[in-house]
């Protein structure tokens, strides 16, 4: 039944079971027949935890989608809202509650389950509208890390990157830390923590602090993970911008987009030129043509950001030229988005006059000319010759270790560090002959399918020595990622 979760080296079924128990407990708290009103965004993640049959066992008789207006009729004792803590959703809930027919009998009880956590702002908002008192149970369901596959966990937090890098809001990092504590409770303390990046450092600090504050969480579970590697997304901004060329990655990118195959290949050619360092310091003709033909703005933004990252920032004249063309073609209001991209480090002027990217590329062997996609021998097959920087870092950490790339690490943003966590005596891991190490790689800010494929490739390698489990704040592709950084330009409906 949960075959896909137990197929890997780490049996993630236990994580899902824990999630189910918490859900059951809450449902039972709202005794009697119930209807659930769903925030649509949550149906996906919840579907990975529990099926409707489980809900039915706990007297869930109806399910509705959250929308304004009167709630549909349902002869149940309880109405439970399953929602993310977002103000817009609170407005809808308020509307539902206020329109409830008080005269009806029997009256229905209201409850809210916030996922993954409650929010002061939301509850205050409900109070402002005068409906806070209408809810009997207001709780949170800490769905921090959702098991997507036997080796893949995601928080599905689509605003994590923006919050961390644009707004310096560490809430999602807090959730990541909490998720990691949950994992350790189920799978044992992780003895070694490595990290690169400011957010990585914060998460590690939080983990250490949380461990100190809950001495009871020291458990006697034999550790499954040998190592945790925390990586900031902004250590490798390049990878999500490039078009993914693995099957899953391609589907993820292309679905819903109408490209001619000609244009697709032209696009790819330009990307590959940038990634191999060709002409990254000039205004690019293909990009200009695309702007002139008013191709979708996100496509343009991906390309100019790619050029900027491959050049360690664009020359002021080149940057100004692109900005002007974009604003004149798509509208001046996009100044706000361009500003966000600059803040995130994706599209910025070159400072210090030095382009570090070629050095990084050479030292870490990111560009492999002789790639064989049919029977690959290196992770660079996922981008047809380009090895994702993030995965290369993981690879080198396992063998021969980061000491060998100290200089390059310094060129990448944020600190790099190592922490050790004490294991109770008797639980020290003794590896059998030929047994692989298990490393959990946590991408803070998002991970692409291509990076997942690359890590899986490493796991399968004979004599690879390490198996990887992947965790992230969100599964992303270049389009969804850039979109999350764009200013919402349509005014709010209310």
């Amino acid at each position: 039944m949960a075959a896909h979760l137990s197929s890997g080296r780490v049996n993630l079924t236990a994580l899902r079971e824990a999630g189910r128990r918490e859900l059951r407990e809450f449902l039972d708290k709202c005794a009697g027949s119930k209807a659930i009103v769903w925030d649509e965004y949550l149906t996906g993640p919840f579907g990975l935890i529990a099926q409707y049959s489980l809900l039915k066992e706990h007297e869930v008789e109806k399910m509705f989608t959250l929308k304004p207006g009167r709630l549909p009729p349902a002869d149940v004792k309880n109405i439970i809202f399953f929602v993310r803590p977002k103000l817009e959703l609170m407005d809808i809930i308020t509307d539902n509650v206020l329109r409830e027919d008080r005269g009806r009998s029997p009256q229905r009880d209201f409850h809210i389950l916030f996922v993954p956590r409650r929010s002061l702002l939301c509850e205050q908002w409900l109070k402002e509208q005068g409906v806070l008192g209408s809810f009997i149970h207001r709780e949170q369901y800490s769905l921090d890390l959702i098991p997507f596959d036997g080796d893949l966990l995601s928080m599905e937090s689509d605003s994590a990157f923006k919050e961390c890098y644009l707004e310096s809001d560490q809430t999602s990092l807090y959730h990541a830390a909490k998720g990691l504590m949950t994992l350790q409770a189920l799978y044992g303390t992780i003895p070694q923590i490595f990290g690169k990046g400011d957010c990585a450092r914060h998460v590690a600090n939080m983990m250490i602090r949380m461990k100190r504050e809950f001495p009871g969480s020291q458990n006697s579970i034999f550790p499954v993970f040998d190592t945790l590697l925390l990586l900031d997304r902004n250590v490798d901004l390049l990878t999500p911008l490039a078009t993914q060329l693995t099957y899953e990655g391609l589907i993820d990118e292309i679905y819903g987009i109408q490209n001619t195959s000609e244009d697709f290949f032209d696009n790819l050619t330009v990307e590959q030129e940038f990634m191999s360092g060709i002409d990254t310091d000039k205004v690019n003709n293909y990009i200009e043509d695309c702007i002139a033909q008013k191709h979708p703005l996100i496509k343009i933004l991906r390309l100019v950001c790619l050029q900027s990252v491959c050049n360690s920032g664009l020359k002021q004249k080149v940057l100004d030229h692109y900005k002007r063309e974009i604003l004149q073609t798509y509208g001046y209001e996009h100044i706000l988005t361009l500003n966000n991209l600059e803040k995130a480090g994706l599209l910025k002027p070159q400072t210090g006059g030095r382009n570090n990217y070629p050095t990084i590329r050479k030292t870490l062997r990111l560009w492999m000319d002789d790639v064989n996609e049919q029977s690959p021998n290196d992770i660079s097959y996922v981008y047809s010759g380009y090895a994702p920087l993030s995965v290369r870092l993981a690879q080198l950490l396992a063998r021969p270790g980061w000491r060998s790339i100290e200089e390059v690490l310094k060129m990448l943003p944020g600190p790099h560090f190592e922490e050790r966590q004490q294991l109770p005596t008797g639980l020290q891991k003794k590896r059998q002959q030929g047994e692989n190490r298990v490393t959990l790689v946590f991408f803070l800010g998002g991970v692409t399918y291509a990076e997942i494929a690359a890590l899986r490739f490493l796991s399968q390698m004979e004599d690879g020595g390490t198996e990887y489990i992947i965790a992230t704040t969100k599964l992303i592709n270049g389009t969804t990622w850039i979109k999350s950084l764009m200013e919402k330009l349509e005014p709010a409906p209310f």
């Binding site: 824990a18 999630g19 128990r21 407990e25 009256q107 009880d109 209201f110 956590r117 409650r118 929010s119 002061l120 702002l121 509850e123 205050q124 109070k127 402002e128 008192g133 209408s134 809810f135 009997i136 207001r138 949170q140 800490s142 919050e163 707004e167 310096s168 809001d169 560490q170 809430t171 990092l173 807090y174 909490k178 949950t182 409770a185 914060h202 939080m206 602090r209 504050e213 809950f214 009871g216 969480s217 043509d289 002139a292 008013k294 100004d320 900005k323 063309e325 604003l327 004149q328 073609t329 798509y330 509208g331 001046y332 209001e333 100044i335 706000l336 500003n339 330009l489 005014p491 709010a492």
Partner: protein, 473 residues
Amino acid sequence: MSRVRADEEEYWHSSKFRAFTFDDEDDELSQLKESKRAVNSLRDIVDDDDDDDLERVSWSGEPVGSISWSIKETASGSTGSLDGRDSSLQKGPSSYAALPKQASSYSLSSLFKGRNKLSSFQSLSDALTDTGIKNYAPELRRPKAEYKICSLERFRSLQDKLLLLDEAVAGHDGNVITAVLIFLKRTLRREILFRELEVRQVALCHLIHFLREMGEQKFLLDLLRFLDRTEEVALSQYREHLNIQDVEKRREFLKGCIGLPFSAEDTSHIQDHYTLLERQIIIEANDRHLEMAGQSELFRKYPRKASILNMPLVTTLFYSCFYHYTEAEGMFSSPTNLKKTFKIPDKQYVLTALAARAKLRAWGDVDALLTTKNWLGYTKKKAPIGFHRVVEILQRNNAPVQVLQEYVRLVEDVETRLNLASKYKCHDVVIETYRDLKDRVQLTAYKCKVERGSAEEEKIQSILSNMQIRWKN
């Protein structure tokens, strides 16, 4: 439902808590009395709570939560430090140490929610969340008088408040940080709050995010000005224009944005935005009038699909090239006026004008656009965008072959030229090119592609039979 509401009312109107003041002075004696009283009440409650499973208590406003909260922070208040490891409570009666009940590994929540109620302040987040949000009575849009105090009022001195803030930040819990910031925003003078936040980056970012979410624009701008983050002030203010639907008001607003401290580059963009909208309003008014009057053939034949208001510059240029192509430069609606005012580069201008005229099938205009006269009076065809692009645009607008052919002929790259010519059946161009390449084989092969007995077939025939040509194959 009503049960909870009644509790809530009762809570808010109870006289349990004193009214707060803005005084920053400490009142240790009364604090101590208060804390003694609170500690005693806690004992009673904790006794009853032995069977409590320590799941997070719902925030329904039961007084229990708030008292235990008061205990903890009062205890730390009296020792002058917010460090959670306060010894005075830690050495509580040993029976309490049995709490929390050691949760089975089955329930995730109990692992992290279960806590020793008496162990001092494990973490600020636990403490704050135990007591319930409603205790914090933030000022959002409600007159102060409506709320009674909130227990954070115990933190009277500036020092205590700052310690509270630092502790909240160290805990990383967003809700807690927000709650504390709301309290500080209400109880500190602005200059002090700003000054303290300036050196506390995380709290500062958090507050900015909060102010944006809640739409507290004025406060936000004051904060940014204080921090000298002038560009952000400018952008923040500019962002507001998106909320203004009325065009005139939006224009006024944009005008006001011009003097703001943007970077030099951005300033010119904002200026352009204003100027563009100003022009669009004028053009829109005139054109709407023209359309309704029904006199203009152009507007009758091609009714406008949408208003030009708030469209990007290039779209406006296209519109202008479509409906106002021949107007004098002095008119706001003329393309040349737009080009001059907004310094639109030649390339963009030609491309846009081309697209507009092609749509109207005005091939003469297309030709004129691409023709330049040199000083000797000789004309020459020139395209700042490459003739293959010109061909593309014309073809998309179903230009007749004779027109298309002219420009295919001018494509510089031979292979591209041949591709386009074959694709669009510009036979003459194919024939001429093969002739120029002296490629007899290809030319012969091409004979099959043209209609039997046509002029093109004859042309090929005559070239093939030309003795003077030195064929390469």
